[in-house]
């Protein structure tokens, strides 16, 4: 096995490395999906794996998402650890019945006798100029389904560490890959041994005193950029990267908001019925007496994902985040 020394590495390369290491460590790990074999995936995340591990373990399936996930259920029943790829966010919808009616509840309905260690990789979110059905942020659907873990990395190191943890998990994990960050680079060194990152812990990406930006996945770099820009206004923003939407790290989030007294939740998916509402409610329940202002949301509009030429108006950007932070100040002063 060869690992190519690349400094810095991309998130896509870290994911490939995670899959390769997991398959090497555990012969029951199988990768399957449309185009994952010979082509190496449309985002090249499975590049080279079919050649290395053979078609029996890296399988190009028929083009059928319910079939991909449904057969993965049977494979998991027989002791394998399938890692399935749903090529794009909106392509996963045909598999929802399998996901919700079987994957999420098999452990529960069998009283623990039949856990399903399946990892479902879903490239998600916008910002890559994709046409219709290629840019959805579908995390709220997954979050609303008990029995699933929902994980989304924002850094190259987390992409590796969290995917390893997802594959090792005895429960099904929806692993949301922010496709806009596939080519983001980091000083992550693929030649060094890499750590596994436990699922369920948020991390403070930037410390600050004025307010907390609570975010995840593709919005993390945007929030970090906003925090840098905010220093010009004299604001010192803290940025919390959730990394895991289920389970939710209430402690890290609440501790941050108690320190800063103000919070904005930032994500790409729509705000109505979206993750931000849940997060804002949790923060309010835990930090009400520490809050100087209402918890605000900066989210995508409540519209079907827009065509690529208009998506920049939809995606939460630095200015919209700074406007919200400004409103926190106003609420505090009046």
């Amino acid at each position: 096995m060869t690992t190519v020394a690349l400094k810095p590495a991309t998130m896509a390369q870290a994911l490939t490395r995670a899959l390769r290491d997991a398959m090497t460590a555990d012969p029951t790990v199988h990768v399957m999906g449309e185009d994952v074999g010979t082509l190496g995936g449309v985002f090249r995340v499975t590049d080279g794996l079919a050649k290395e591990f053979g078609e029996d373990r890296v399988t190009d399936t028929p083009l059928a998402e319910a079939g991909i996930l449904g057969t993965a259920v049977g494979m998991a029943m027989y002791g394998l650890r399938p890692v399935v790829e749903m090529q794009f966010d909106a392509f996963a919808y045909p598999a929802f019945e399998q996901l919700i009616s079987h994957v999420a509840r098999m452990r529960n309905r069998t009283r623990g006798a039949m856990p399903l260690p399946i990892t479902i990789r879903v490239p998600y979110g916008g910002g890559i100029g994709g046409v219709e059905h290629h840019s959805d942020s579908s995390e709220a659907y997954y979050m609303a389904t008990p029995g699933l873990h929902v994980v989304t990395p924002a850094t190259v190191a987390d992409a590796y560490g969290l995917l390893r943890a997802a594959i090792a998990s005895d429960d099904p994990v929806v692993f949301l890959e922010p496709k806009r960050l596939y080519w983001s680079k980091d000083t992550w060194n693929p030649e060094e041994p890499q750590g596994v990152e436990p699922i369920g812990r948020a991390v403070v990406r930037r410390t600050g005193r004025s307010a907390t930006l609570i975010t995840y996945g593709p919005s993390v770099p945007v929030c970090l950029e906003a925090a840098e820009a905010a220093t010009a206004e004299g604001w010192d923003l803290e940025v919390v990267d959730l990394r895991s939407l289920v389970p939710f790290d209430d402690e890290t989030v609440a501790a941050s908001v108690r320190r800063t007294g103000r919070a904005v939740v930032v994500h790409e998916s729509g705000s109505y019925g979206g993750p931000g509402g849940e997060i804002a409610a949790r923060v309010t329940e835990r930090c009400f007496h520490h809050l100087e202002a209402p918890v605000l949301r900066v989210a995508g509009f409540d519209i079907p994902y827009p065509p690529p030429m208009l998506e920049r108006h939809h995606l939460p950007g630095v200015d919209r985040i700074l406007d919200a932070v400004g409103r926190l100040q106003w609420e505090a002063e009046n």
């Binding site: 079939g67 494979m75 029943m77 027989y78 009616s101 079987h102 309905r109 623990g112 289920v246």
Partner: protein
């Protein structure tokens, strides 16, 4: 410029490499459902097998009537009876080796019981006590599946995984005629054929999907014909002829085990009872039709064959009935005991480790239960 206009400049190229398969004939089902009982083929069937099928059918019928009675006493939330379909249920269970897997739908409790599952455990879902009352690995019976046809891809995946591991395990999946209209039916058959997975699909065509008759379900010549489009053999069998269903399934299982890939078997049968106790079947079918099928009863067919050939006498019939009655009495007695449930189990099996959010809710319920307990003692 159109293709027609550029004819002079057009240079023919060889046809693409791919050509449609030209030999679908071996995949096609027979024109009429295959039968054994009452034909010359019956003489070739092992008498011991016929007697065993008979005993299981009688027991299965009694199981159906007992479970139906339990719904009337409120002991079961619902029971989808398989009365009239016992030949399919029993044959499906008996053709499998111990290492094989059965994938039942909600109407197939009897198949699970015939495979050796405790009748009370098999009724857990329908009793409303818990969703699956047994460890699927113990008897290699997947949980009874309520959504239609969604267990079929599971059967394919399991069979495929077993083959990858080098185990000669076969999966047999049960589905109704209505289930063949679902997308998962299509995807399962397609995956099975492409992967040459050792799986057998048994469609119990019992005439109706709740109230919708087969004619409104499909325009296919038969449900077995659907196999051809996937590149697997389709077999059509009289679903009330236990010997015929057993034989066709045995062949399909052997074919799969030998690496021949999947088979789709359509068993033509009839649901004598309503869809469930909540359904009024008189709204969509006449008593005349039901009577015609009663005259083609799976138990009567086999009993006639056995008695004609001197393989069964009054004592044998009585012995089968007594064994069935003993099973029913035991089932009744055990179902009349109230199950002891632990509400804290609600949180125990959502994840391997409860999330912090679930722990909070667990604590809430625990406090509520403690308050209830205190109230009871006050």
């Amino acid at each position: 410029m159109t293709v027609m206009e550029q004819r002079g400049a057009y240079r023919p190229t060889p046809p693409p490499a791919w050509q449609p398969r030209t030999d679908p004939a071996p995949l096609l089902p027979d024109a009429l459902p295959y039968r054994v009982l009452g034909t010359d083929a019956a003489a070739d069937v092992d008498p011991a097998l016929l007697r065993r099928l008979y005993a299981e059918l009688v027991r299965g019928r009694r199981y159906n009537t007992q479970a139906t009675a339990l719904t009337k006493q409120g002991r079961l939330a619902v029971y989808p009876s398989s009365t009239g379909q016992e030949a399919c249920e029993v044959a499906a269970a008996l053709v499998l080796e111990e290492r094989d897997w059965l994938f039942p739908s909600y109407r197939d409790t009897l198949a699970a019981v015939a495979r050796g599952l405790d009748p009370v455990q098999a009724l857990t879902l329908l009793r409303g006590d818990w969703h699956t009352g047994y460890d699927p690995h113990e008897h290699r019976v997947a949980p009874l599946c309520t959504p239609l046809a969604t267990q079929l891809p599971h059967a394919v995946g399991l069979a495929h995984a077993a083959r990858l591991k080098g185990d000669d395990v076969v999966a047999l999946a049960l589905v109704g005629d209505g289930g063949t209209s679902e997308g998962d039916f299509h995807e399962a058959l397609n995956f099975a054929a492409v992967w040459q997975a050792p799986v057998v699909f048994l469609v119990q065509n019992n005439g109706f999907a709740i109230s919708v008759p087969l004619a409104k379900q499909t325009a296919a010549p038969s449900l077995a014909h659907k196999a051809v489009g996937y590149g697997m053999p389709g077999r059509l069998v009289d679903g009330n002829d236990a010997a015929a269903v057993h034989q066709v399934l045995t062949e399909a299982v052997a074919h799969a085990r030998a690496g021949g890939g999947p088979t789709l078997v359509e068993a033509v049968t009839y649901r004598i009872d309503a869809h469930t106790n909540a359904d009024d079947a008189t709204r969509y079918r006449g008593e005349g039709e039901v009577e015609t099928w009663r005259a083609h009863d799976p138990i009567a067919l086999l009993e006639h064959e056995l008695t004609e050939r001197g393989l069964l006498d009054e004592d044998g019939i009585r012995a089968a009935q007594e064994a069935a009655e003993a099973m029913a009495a035991d089932l009744r007695a055990r179902m009349n005991q109230d199950p002891v449930l632990d509400p804290m189990d609600l949180f125990a099996h959502v994840y391997a480790e409860p999330t912090p959010q679930l722990r909070e809710q667990q604590a809430l319920l625990k406090a509520e239960l403690a308050a209830e307990e205190e109230g009871a003692h006050r």
